[in-house]
Amino acid sequence: MISSLSFINQKGEILIYRVYKDDISRNEITQFCAKMIATKENKEFPIINIDQTSFIHISIKDIIILATTKTDVNVAMVLEFLYQLVLIFFDFKSKICKSYFQGNLDENCIKKSFVLIYEILDEVLDYGIPQIADPNLLQKFIQEGGVQQETTINIEKLRQLTFTLTGAVSWRPIGLYYEKNELYLDIIESVNLLISAKDTVLRAEVVGSIELKSKLTGMPECQIGMNDKLLMGKQQKQTRQTIGISIDDMKFHPCIRLPKFDKDRTITFIPPDGHCQLISYRISENINIPFKVNVFYSEIIDNKLEIRLKIKSIYDNNIYGTNVLVKVPVPKNTVNAITATALGKARYEVEEQSVIWRIKKFQGDFETSLRCEINLGATNKDQVWSKPPLRMEFQIPMFTASGLRIRFLKVMEKAGYKTNKWIRYLTKGGEYLHRL
């Protein structure tokens, strides 16, 4: 399994170095660091094998997290583990270096909290084999910063803890209590769209995520119902409202009972305390594409280019899209651009090599346009402009491109309390591309 883990900064210096197996030397790591800093290629490929030693790494901003191994391990597992490790640090960090770093792993923070990091590293891997990687659980028995000091004294409580850790419901501790019981569901969809230059849809896909935030007492049993076609078909005769949507694939948080879902497609679970990504899903059928884009490039005279852009929103007019951003690529030798639009603001941004059009609020069922006149410089005319696609970013609250809806959300607990529930929907632009 994993022989060592190290954190490396951009200069190739080792910030944290933890060995799990004896088959690797610090020397090999420093040599690799030097190599990685030297060439771009080494940095790019996530895995490199040098003389039977494999170096597997991910980069989070300026920090490289590197795992080494000498055995033929499952690569995806190591990578996923590294990513989860990052999540753990983010989670801890929000509690420890509170004011300092927000969702950001940087050199200073690592140096500052290295004792904690070593403690975590000690717990998440044993002999290079991944163990407990759930941030909530880890916090329960890691001592740094006075977190949960009192449990160290109470042996009974500790027993409970170790049983939770190793038990079947390891994600939720026993004996939670909240004054107000609350449950939040966020359905966030990002639309990946690829439209060819001839205006045909090459690929349309929604990758969605259902995020759960729970503040619930005890051991509640929850159930979610969605307008999933396969499920609805089973339950009742189809009327107009009950025709569901077909979901290509769903991936579930460990708390959801997979065998139960496999049997009758009901989603039941005991929620983890706090925040988690409950479900991620993918849908590729019948996607409501939120914006229709028409774009024309035409050369007026030799060094002048005209771009006409039309955007139409195709969702109900009581819904608003927010923070809409359109990136219209322009040639490298653009000198300036004169833009004219009725809605929002558009201007040429050199570093992006595009005209960026920002619209704060975009009503549904509405059409607007942009006209740009691009002045081109005479430089290197021979070089062909490899036209990058036009990109769009946006957020549309209360709208799902896939049409997914939560039909019900039940919480059952033996105490029989009342739960406040919130459900929100949001659609975002993912890889929303329009080829030119």
Partner: protein, 656 residues
């Protein structure tokens, strides 16, 4: 608090020494933290060993952890001092009521890796394996391979304990760790340790539902090495594994896919197999659009393997592999590779249309790969040929400088012309290519150009002048180009004997004294043949190869017998590099594979599946027979540009 501070004075070790021996607890703790910080940046602080372990007498857990970390790091340098710690460990394991402390002690104890200390470890370890607390047990179980690595002679009793535990353990997490630990020992030991029986399988299947994600991976991965005894058993295991396809951890999903794919071979029921394939496919595709590129990459690398045996999984799914503009290039390369593999007689048009767009991208290496892929598709499907050529010609029109992609263009055009000579007429391709001939600078591309000039001399207005230009530089050319120049020069001479008599003389003069035996030999062969009977040379050199089926359609990544082994190792590092484990790791021995044929799962019409299989088998055999005499005429080589020896072969083919 800045432990990594820059003001490192001389007496720092001395200072630490004083602090460690200070009576004040807080000062001690700070000093220990500093020691660990120095250790991290790679400074040797082993001299403080004794002072550090003296601090163990405090019951502060945080400090204990740090000291243990220190001990693990330096125990091998200071084995004699490390003995002093033993008592502490034993006390913790035996006396502490706190399960976390017990586990911590046994875990660290295992990491010492000093042979002579291990005998003190055996007894406490035995206790821990039988501890009531599952957390201690799961830690103890992992301790065994640590000991085994250093002193295997001490371990027989421990191994027996593990085997007993496997029979009776009920906690899912401990079970998962147990399996993984025994497998680690199996790797070192080379002997089978886990004895499978239906009861244990039943237990493992139950444990999958209960243990955390990593445990699920261990169990699934282990079950994937098992060969089910009968179809019914395979069916049950698959059924229990299916829910894992919806797990949020991509590796769990992937391991489940691996297991199911392996067990498919053991199923009797054809309809069931088809249904299963339908279930696996969307799961795999989700992994391909995973938001972490690194994971996407590992999955993509494995897809080409899965694809060879299970083309059915990606039927009609070629769109999934379309590259998106902002993806890292290492992912784009993989996708391109897979697109060619997935391409068939039905969807080649779609693929070509997509490739046409990539040809305009900025990265020359990516464009080069794209051109190569277009060429490959043209070769594979007769119907795609003209489309492929017109895309390439379109590209050639815009060429303005000599870059990497242009080189590939010449190489691919040459291959396409070889397949169908009449293509030179399509879209004026020959004329357009001739205009940019000067941009060829790689040996292979140059050799392709000389071939084109020789082959189509009668359609190129100034072919003789062009050839003269090449021959003037004969001596500075690469061997590859020289060989091709000889053949092409002779070709030209045959076509225009009077015009080229001086030319051929110059060519032979420059070539006959070459240091390269190949070049020399070929010169003499031509020379003698020309002087005895030019007619033979004409038949040799200018004959139009009628048999275009010489161009193989084989783009398989693996030999059949390797495919089985590769599938067993799906997801592993060796597999990621498209190698067998024993090719990457010298110490690994692989199971001998007796299976000579792999069942291929194709999506096809309902009727006569068995017949098709037979055909495939026959085809395989035929190919093997064919391969022997002519070796690899590997035009579809997927790796770096076709190697020199291969090109030599092409030239020979030209000759004969």
């Amino acid at each position: 608090m800045a432990y990594f501070g820059n003001n490192q004075q001389r007496g720092e070790l001395q200072e630490l020494f004083t602090d460690l021996n200070d009576l004040n607890f807080d000062k001690k703790k700070e000093a220990i933290k500093k020691v660990i910080a120095y250790m991290t940046v790679g400074k040797d602080v082993s001299q403080l060993f004794q002072s550090v372990i003296k601090c163990l007498e405090f019951q502060d857990i945080e400090m204990k952890k740090l000291i243990y970390l220190y001990i693990v790091n330096y125990s091998r340098q200071k084995p004699d001092d490390a003995i002093m710690v033993i008592q502490n460990f034993r006390k913790d394991v035996r006396k502490s009521e706190n399960p976390l402390v017990r586990a911590l002690a046994i875990r660290t104890f295992g990491c010492l890796r000093v042979p002579k200390l291990n005998e003190y470890l055996i007894e406490p370890l035995k206790d821990c394996i039988q501890d009531d607390d599952p957390y201690v047990r799961k830690t103890a179980v992992l301790c065994v391979p640590k000991v085994f690595e250093v002193s295997p002679e001490l371990c027989p009793a421990l191994l027996e304990l593990l085997q007993k535990l496997l029979e009776k353990e009920s906690n899912a997490l401990v079970l998962a760790n147990l399996i993984q630990s025994m497998r680690e020992i199996e790797v070192v030991n080379g002997k089978q340790l886990i004895l499978m029986n239906p009861k244990i399988i039943q237990k493992l299947l139950l444990a999958i539902d209960e243990c955390m994600e990593w445990g699920q991976i261990f169990i699934l991965d282990y079950l994937a090495t098992y060969d089910p005894v009968e179809s019914k058993q395979a069916e049950i295991i698959i059924e229990r594994t299916l829910p894992r396809l919806s797990h949020i951890n991509p590796t769990v999903t992937f391991c489940a896919v691996k297991l199911i794919l392996k067990y498919l071979d053991h199923l009797d029921n054809g309809d069931l197999v088809k249904n299963l394939c339908k279930k696996i496919s969307p799961s795999l595709i989700s992994l391909l659009s995973w938001n972490q590129p690194e994971i996407q990459y590992t999955i993509l690398r494995n897809i080409s393997l899965i694809l060879q045996k299970f083309p059915i999984l990606f039927e009609n799914e070629v769109k999934v592999f379309f590259c998106s503009f902002n993806e890292p290039y290492y992912i784009k390369y993989e996708k391109l590779d897979i697109m060619v593999r997935i391409c068939d007689s039905k969807n080649f048009n779609q693929v070509l249309n997509e490739l046409m767009i990539y040809i305009n991208e900025a990265d020359p290496h990516f464009v080069r790969k794209t051109i190569k892929s277009i060429g490959k598709i043209g070769i594979m499907y007769d119907k795609a040929l003209s489309e492929a050529v017109s895309i390439l010609v379109e590209f050639a029109k815009n060429v303005q400088q000599a870059n990497e992609s242009v080189q590939e263009l010449f190489i691919q055009m040459q291959i396409l012309y070889r397949k169908n000579r009449n293509l030179y007429k399509t879209n004026d391709s020959l004329k357009i290519l001739f205009n940019i001939l000067e941009y060829a600078n790689e040996p292979e591309a140059k050799s392709a150009c000389t071939w084109i000039v020789g082959e189509f001399a009668e359609f190129i207005p100034k072919s003789v002048d062009k050839m003269k230009e090449y021959i003037d530089n004969f001596l500075i050319e690469d061997r590859l180009v020289q060989l091709q120049l000889l053949t092409s020069g002779v070709k030209l001479y045959i076509k225009y004997p009077s015009l080229c008599s001086a030319l051929i003389q110059q060519l032979i003069n420059s070539a006959k004294d070459s240091f390269n035996p190949d070049v020399r030999d070929r010169t003499y062969i031509y020379w003698r043949l020309l002087s005895t009977d030019p007619e033979i040379v004409k038949n040799l050199v200018c004959s139009v190869p009628t048999n275009s089926s010489q161009f193989q359609k084989d783009i398989r990544l693996w030999e059949t017998k390797d495919l089985i082994i590769a599938l067993e190792n799906m997801g592993s590092i060796s597999n990621l590099f498209h190698k067998l484990p024993n090719q990457l790791y010298k110490n690994i021995k692989i199971r001998n594979n007796h299976q000579q044929e792999a069942k291929i799962y194709k999506a096809d019409e309902k009727q006569d599946i068995p017949q098709k299989e037979q055909e495939i088998k026959k085809e395989d055999q035929n190919q093997q027979i064919q391969q022997q005499p002519k070796q690899d005429f590997d035009l579809l080589n997927f790796d770096e540009p076709v190697s020199k020896s291969n090109n030599n072969k092409i030239d020979v083919y030209d000759l004969i």
